[in-house]
């Protein structure tokens, strides 16, 4: 078999000629180990290169967001400043009537909190659960700073009858543990009744569930509209000759580079009742001067403006996928007798799915968290949940509530992402 002229045989002979049968580098190290070592070095270098970004993301993004989200279930506003009463709640089961020991603990804590100027924090925390009680704490605090005589129950009730309210004691018991589910309950329009059971809030106070639904529904509608509008444009971009497609590309990108605020404001100019579009319609005689259309400061305005703003996020991934589709496939389908619709449906469209998936995911997730545009053009019916989060962050300063709403939104988006992965497969996503 071993033929001196057979090159394969020659190599085989050389290889087996070594003592342990492994290839070695010139300095005698087994090739596998040398390779592993050099790869390890390359990996380490790559890691070092990524390290600044990783540290940056950890310090400026992951940690603060984690801390913020922690506020949604952790609020020690009450427990940290009312230690004795919190202790009493720990020692006594729910349903136990507050005895004189509880009232004494309450009085001592109120006095200490008033001294330390933390009573406002305590009152604010309880006010989240029982509106209108914040001043009960602060005003009582001012009075007990001068001292309080036992019996404490009578003394406190003498200052204000509201101290006897079961709802207040129930809220204080809830707040006595820093870990609470109350903000999440409130974020889904639920509340804790006096006996600790969970009940829906009054109908006229319900707002969040409806806003979550509206946010997801409007985001879906916007995603669908960007698809309907963006698909033909992306197709045109991908198939036109380079010179024309470049021009079209600039038309797509120009608004993309323009400030979000400018684009939103332009829509206000166009759509308002005394705006350009209504003026043209009246001038054309399509509508009468008194029947000007209400196209902004409502859901319609939100959908129109957001569709326009998010359109490039649909077009660009679609375009990048469409450009790689070989036109000969469609030609082949046509030559085999498919109508143009069938060729599109069965040959072309399935190949654009990775781009569509990426575009739809981008647009949907951006839309779910959108804030400026709905705030400006949404009016009363075009508001999204993000506007509520912003309001709790900046107006009411109830950061725990904002965190709970944000966490629910994040959870819902992750859930959708998971569903998407299960149904479409995340590998089918192509961003460019």
């Amino acid at each position: 078999m071993a033929n001196a002229l057979d090159p394969h045989a020659a190599i085989a002979t050389t290889a087996t000629g070594l003592t342990d049968g492994a290839l070695r580098t010139t300095d005698g190290m087994p090739l596998v180990r040398a390779l592993a070592r050099s790869q390890k070095r390359a990996r380490r270098r790559a890691f070092l290169l990524v390290l600044p970004l990783l540290a940056f993301i950890l310090i400026t993004f992951v940690v603060p967001i984690g801390q913020m989200l922690q506020r949604s279930f952790y609020n020690d506003g009450f427990s940290a400043h009312m230690p004795q009463l919190s202790q009493w709640f720990d020692d006594n089961p729910r349903g136990a009537e507050p005895d004189e020991a509880a009232w004494a603990a309450l009085a001592t804590d109120l006095q200490a909190a008033a001294e330390a100027r933390t009573i406002g924090i305590v009152g604010t925390r309880i006010n989240y659960d029982v509106p209108g009680t914040r001043s009960l704490f602060t005003s009582t605090g001012r009075q007990v700073r001068r001292g309080l005589e036992p019996p404490y129950q009578a003394a406190l009730l003498d200052i204000n009858d509201d101290w006897g309210s079961p709802a207040l004691w129930s809220a204080m018991r809830e707040a006595s543990s820093p870990v609470t589910s109350n903000f999440y309950l409130a974020a889904v329009d639920r509340t804790r009744a006096d006996d600790g059971s969970i009940a829906p809030v009054e109908e006229r106070q319900q707002v969040y569930v409806m806003l979550f639904m509206r946010t997801f529904w409007l985001s879906l509608v916007i995603t669908a509209t960007t698809f309907l509008l963006g698909f033909p444009i992306a197709h045109l971009l991908a198939t036109l000759p380079m010179r024309k497609s470049n021009l079209l590309m600039i038309l797509v990108l120009l608004p993309f580079w323009t400030s979000l605020l400018v684009r939103t404001t332009s829509w206000m100019v166009l759509l308002q009742q005394q705006g350009v579009i209504n003026d043209i319609l009246v001038w054309l005689g399509v509508i009468g001067g008194s029947q000007r259309l209400q196209m902004i400061y409502n859901q319609t305005g939100t959908i129109i403006a957001m569709t326009h703003i998010l359109l490039p996020f649909m077009i660009l991934p679609l375009y990048s996928v469409m450009r790689t589709i070989n036109p000969s496939y469609v030609r082949a389908a046509r030559s085999l007798g498919a109508t143009s619709w069938t060729a599109f449906r069965r040959v072309y469209f399935p190949q654009t799915l990775p781009g569509l998936g990426a575009g739809a995911l981008l647009v949907f997730i951006l839309a779910v968290g959108y804030y400026i545009t709905p705030a400006l053009v949404g009016g009363s019916s075009g508001q999204l949940i993000s506007n509520m989060i912003a309001m709790h962050m900046t107006d009411t300063l109830n950061w725990s509530m904002a965190a709970a709403l944000a966490a629910l939104l994040l959870g819902a988006v992750l859930l959708l992402y998971w569903v998407y992965d299960r149904m479409v497969g995340i590998d089918n996503l192509k961003l460019g």
């Binding site: 406002g120 209108g132 914040r134 006229r204 106070q205 705006g275 400061y297 400006l376 009363s380």
Partner: protein, 361 residues
């Protein structure tokens, strides 16, 4: 070479020590915009010029939230903040701002101590008022050639005064306004609003014009909506409308009936690095003539009675400011002073109710 380096380092170190011994520089955070510019001209620049301490004005669209974040993180970059009334109560009760000793505030020219000279609610244990502003009705004069609206009730008369109405999208000011429009006297508004029936009554009044309302959020939107003729009448911040009338020559006018007076305050964050200088600045800015000077740059009124008399003309030199200020007696006559205590207690509840009401059809 080495010697020069050592000398240079020593010099740098010494100047560093010297800089530490001297207090300041201080930062002053305000809501910015036209108000920030006015504060800069009337208080910040003169302070630097007279005291020789560098003071810088920092724009911020939400000073209370920034203050809270800075104090909680222990990283305070501003020594003085401008916040609204309801925030003063919250921040003070939560121990986030320093108490201010009223004794540091200068007496008025005739010797009246500051404590008696300031308007009611203008002095707080943790804050002193900067100026008085108001939420008023503004209308486009071209929209009503046959007779202008004169009262809150007219705002709700969409038959007599046709056109859309602009209203700020938050319950504060709006709830009070609705009750005033429903005939509740100004001094009883907060008593009525404290009852569930009163809240229902306010929403019922708003229901009557709900379809005619354009809701706005940013202060600049109100004059814009009026100028675009998107609305014929709107609730607006008086300073913004003044700018539109005087600076841009827009045909707008005010209805002072039912104006809602509110104040902005100086506060010092708890643990501010330059607390002493910050207090000096507040004392400096509370001088009556200096307060009157603020009205030269913006249509907000001084919070001290003795300052009202010294209010002169606008920076253009010709426009008398008195007719445009919410503190001028004729304007303040039928005004309501916003009750920050009420809002501190009921803000979250009424905001949720308001949002739910807005969202419902």
């Amino acid at each position: 070479m080495t010697r020069r380096l050592i000398a240079g380092t020593a010099l740098a170190l010494m100047s560093g020590v010297a800089a530490q011994a001297q207090e300041g520089p201080i930062n002053i955070t305000t809501y910015g915009g036209a108000f920030g510019a006015a504060v800069n001209e009337a208080f910040v620049k003169p302070f630097t010029a007279e005291k020789g301490i560098q003071a810088t004005m920092v724009d911020n669209d939400n000073p209370p939230a920034t203050l809270k974040a800075q104090v909680e993180a222990g990283n305070i970059t501003s020594d003085v903040f401008d916040v609204e009334q309801s925030d003063v109560l919250r921040l003070c009760d939560e121990g986030l701002i320093e108490p201010i000793d009223p004794a540091i505030l200068p007496a008025s020219a005739d010797g009246t101590p500051a404590a008696e000279d300031y308007l009611p609610q203008a002095l707080h244990e943790c804050a002193t008022a900067i100026m008085v502003w108001s939420t008023v009705i503004a209308y486009n004069t071209e929209a009503f050639p046959d007779g202008a609206p004169t009262s809150v009730a007219d705002f709700f008369e969409t038959e007599k005064f046709p056109g859309k109405r602009g209203i700020i999208k938050r319950p504060k000011y709006v709830m009070e306004f609705a009750l005033l429009g429903d005939g509740v006297p100004a001094d009883q508004v907060y008593d009525v609003l404290s009852t569930p029936e009163g809240v229902d009554r306010a929403f019922a009044k708003l229901d009557s014009i709900k379809d005619e309302v354009v809701w706005w959020e940013a202060g600049a939107q109100a004059p814009q909506l009026l100028a675009d003729k998107e609305v014929t009448m709107t609730l607006a911040y008086n300073g913004r409308i003044f700018d539109a009338i005087v600076d841009e020559g827009k045909p707008f006018a005010f209805v002072w009936d039912g104006a809602n007076l509110d104040m902005d305050y100086w506060v010092v964050p708890m643990g501010a690095p330059n607390k002493e200088v910050a207090m000096d600045f507040i004392a400096f800015a509370s001088d009556p003539t200096r307060q009157a000077d603020l009205s030269k740059y913006i249509a907000y009124g001084p919070p001290r009675e003795s300052a009202s008399a010294s209010v002169g003309t606008y920076k253009d030199g010709t426009t008398e400011m008195a007719p445009y200020l919410p503190t001028t007696p004729e304007n303040a006559e039928r005004a309501l002073v916003n009750d920050a205590g009420f809002w501190a207690d009921h803000d979250s509840e009424l905001t949720e109710r308001f949002n739910s009401w807005l969202a419902g059809s």
